[in-house]
């Protein structure tokens, strides 16, 4: 869309005559191809030749969304033509492909393949994901389930590859959720456990991958529900997760991704309105014990990290939650709160207005 992260040359770039001529030639080439494709489109030419022309043009400019629309119209016509040629004689109910379906499968597979190098070149282009999604929907509508499943399984390895290249790619993580949901539906299974393991692997490779922590947090309730976990298992999961994140926090208390996950777990101890905990039957005294433990653990982190604003922020947030559960507070004094807030104000001058508001709210 816009030029993100393209360096500006230090010296005003003056194009050489040769570079200028070359650019003009490229413009001519692009314009004439574009005119030709638009002419075909205006004539409603839905032939294989027209498809090939869109291939050329969209390779030069994958953001040209109208071309993807045109391409889909052509593909739909080609699917239909094959239907008209006969061959769809009841075999669609079985796993074997009818001649028509073979052609449809070839067209879809070829287009899925065509998209792959474009993805790696333009990982943030919405239209590519959009078109891919459409192709797979068509596969599901037009092909036997087992063939569609095979295609979706291919997607899982593609998205794995994409995320290994850019582990925070927004589209990549979103697409992973789509693929998993589809595979679960087609196979009537629950993949929460293997996905959970996947997040462990990704997090161990890079602790600060918040996308993976986020995904993990969302998987836990599904994982527990899928195996109809009893209350002991649920408590164990909560404790295991706290252990996992605390280890990470000791490694790097300055990493906000980790605090995000810690906060998510804390909110499972003290669920807020409208949000359910994955351990829904905690008693009030269990809540207090857990919160107390985590509060103390957080406080311990200060040792050697006295300048870490995240710790003060967490202490103040958890203190507020604690006060809501137990107004008779033995865990910290008003003086503690005052001290933490002062530290925060000193360390985090970007958000002075926020800490001033908090000061008023806590009545300090």
């Amino acid at each position: 869309m816009a030029s993100h992260g393209v360096s500006r040359p230090a010296v005003a770039a003056v194009k050489s005559e040769q570079a200028r001529r070359q650019e003009l030639a490229e413009i001519e080439k692009y314009k004439s191809l574009s005119e030709l494709v638009n002419k075909k489109k205006a004539e409603n030419d839905l032939s294989l030749d027209a498809l090939d022309l869109t291939t050329k043009l969209v390779s030069l400019n994958p953001e040209y969304y109208t071309l993807w629309n045109y391409r889909r119209l052509i593909l739909l016509r080609l699917f239909e033509q094959e239907q008209g040629n006969g061959g769809s004689t009841g075999s669609e109910a079985t796993d074997a492909l009818s001649p028509r379906q073979q052609v449809v499968e070839e067209l879809i597979t070829a287009d899925l393949q065509f998209l792959i190098p474009l993805f790696f070149k333009n990982p943030k282009c919405y239209w590519l994901w959009n078109h891919r999604d459409w192709l797979l929907q068509q596969a599901q509508a037009q092909l036997p389930p087992v063939t569609a499943l095979k295609l979706w399984q291919g997607e899982l390895s593609l998205v794995g590859k994409m995320l290994s290249l850019d582990s925070r790619n927004f589209h990549g993580w979103g697409y992973r959720r789509t693929v998993i949901a589809k595979l679960e539906q087609l196979q009537d299974t629950n993949m929460a456990e293997s996905e959970f393991e996947y997040t462990t692997k990704v997090i161990k490779a890079s602790l600060s991958n918040f996308s993976a922590w986020h995904y993990r947090g969302n998987l836990i309730p599904r994982l527990l529900d899928s195996c109809q976990a009893d209350s002991t298992t649920r408590r164990k999961r909560l404790n295991d997760e706290f252990k996992f994140i605390e280890q990470a926090l000791w490694t790097d208390p300055y990493d906000q991704s980790l605090w995000g996950y810690h906060q998510l777990l804390i909110l499972n101890i003290v669920p807020t309105a409208g949000r359910q905990s994955f351990v829904s039957d905690l008693t009030n005294s269990e809540r207090l014990d857990l919160l107390e433990r985590e509060f103390k653990g957080t406080r311990d982190l200060l040792e050697g990290a006295e300048k870490c604003k995240w710790i003060y922020q967490a202490l103040l947030q958890y203190a507020e939650l604690y006060l809501e559960l137990d107004a008779s507070n033995r865990l910290f004094t008003t003086q503690d709160l005052r001290h933490w807030l002062d530290q925060l104000k000193e360390l985090d001058t970007l958000r002075t207005g926020r800490w001033n508001d908090l000061e008023k709210k806590l009545n300090l």
Binding site: A10, E23, L24
Partner: protein
């Protein structure tokens, strides 16, 4: 008419930015005016799919800069109308298919130019046609919106649809309660919003969700303090804002983040001076325009969102921007109250 292509050429190297930077109003005006004259650059042709939005970005930036008439009004209007499609939507350029994103940009431009009547003279019942196009893209079960007839759904399209309908006084054509429900389902534990239920929080998605709530008159549905806390953490030591934890700063987030904070009344939770100074340093002081980060190529998208951000920060010399509509406040007031 193109206001998209052409990142500023040249400019200054690192280290030459920070000496007493100020807002280069005239340079930005000249930069935007120059954008339509760059047909000898390949980028001009490769960005045709953004033309209508480019006009919206450029025109809005000029209004904020106090030069609303710096582009020929008749040409803009003619161009926008030439992008109208039979189905009631607008394409990005003549001959391009209609899409929600460009329909919103076109409506924003028509409204900013105060040209809805002229539009209807040329396209009888044009406003109703646009309203119908948008309303037909709502999924009546989930409340979500598709971007076009091909069906990709996204909170961007929900917000864009509501925004355009609001400018046309046609919000009643869609189910707004369903929109609010869907926004709620996109809310994460951190109070912020992702692109769909379960997706990680992202500043630009926060803008579309909070904007939807604002248009629905349901900002009470947001978890204000948690959300504002998350948004405030987007500011990095260099003053710039990022889109998600542990990502790089970028001028366009000055808009997505700030506008959301303004809508929920928490603009004071970040350091305005340091953000202002960051945006200033992203200017090309020689050729005009604003880039994503200091030292990068400028473009009209970042120029627009940088200026809109500065306007929210109260920058003297800039017209006030409306945080929900991302249009000059004066224009929005004229339309909504007129």
């Amino acid at each position: 008419m193109s206001l998209v292509a052409g990142p500023g050429r040249g400019g200054l190297g690192d280290g030459q930015f920070s000496q007493n930077p100020k807002l280069c109003v005239d340079k930005h005006v000249a930069y935007i005016q120059s954008l339509d004259q760059r047909r000898d650059e390949l980028d001009y042709w490769l960005t045709e799919h953004l033309r209508v939005s480019g006009i919206y970005w450029g025109l809005t930036a000029l209004h904020l800069l106090g030069h609303p008439d710096a582009l020929p009004r008749d040409d803009l209007l003619k161009y926008i109308i030439s992008c109208f499609c039979d189905d009631g939507g607008f394409g990005a350029a003549p001959g391009h298919d209609s899409h929600m994103l460009y329909t919103l940009s076109a409506v924003q431009v028509l409204v900013t130019l105060d040209a809805l009547e002229e539009f209807e003279q040329q396209i009888p019942r044009g406003k109703d046609k646009i309203g119908r196009f948008i309303a037909d893209l709502q999924n009546r079960e989930s409340g979500t919106f598709a971007g076009d007839r091909w069906g990709e759904e996204d909170t961007r399209f929900m917000f864009a649809g509501l925004l355009a309908l609001s400018l046309l006084h046609l919000k009643h054509l869609v189910d707004i309660d369903k929109c609010v429900q869907y926004v709620k389902s996109c809310q994460n534990f951190d109070g912020a919003y992702g692109v769909s239920p379960g997706a990680e929080s992202h500043s630009a998605r926060v803008y579309t969700c909070v904007g939807t709530l604002a248009l629905a008159g349901r900002l009470d549905a947001a978890d204000t303090d948690a959300l504002a806390g998350w948004l405030s953490e987007r500011q990095l030591p260099n003053g710039g804002l990022n889109g998600r934890p542990e990502k790089l700063e970028d001028v366009c987030y000055s808009w997505w983040v700030l506008s959301s904070m303004a809508m929920i009344g928490r603009l004071h939770w970040i350091d305005k001076d340091r953000l202002t100074s960051f945006i200033f340093q992203c200017q090309d002081p020689e050729n005009g325009g604003i880039a994503d980060r200091p030292g990068d190529m400028v473009d009209v998208f970042h120029t627009h969102f940088g200026l809109a951000g500065l306007s929210l920060l109260g920058q003297p010399g800039l017209a006030e921007v409306d945080p929900t509509y991302c249009m000059p406040k004066q224009v929005v007031e004229r339309v909504l109250n007129g």
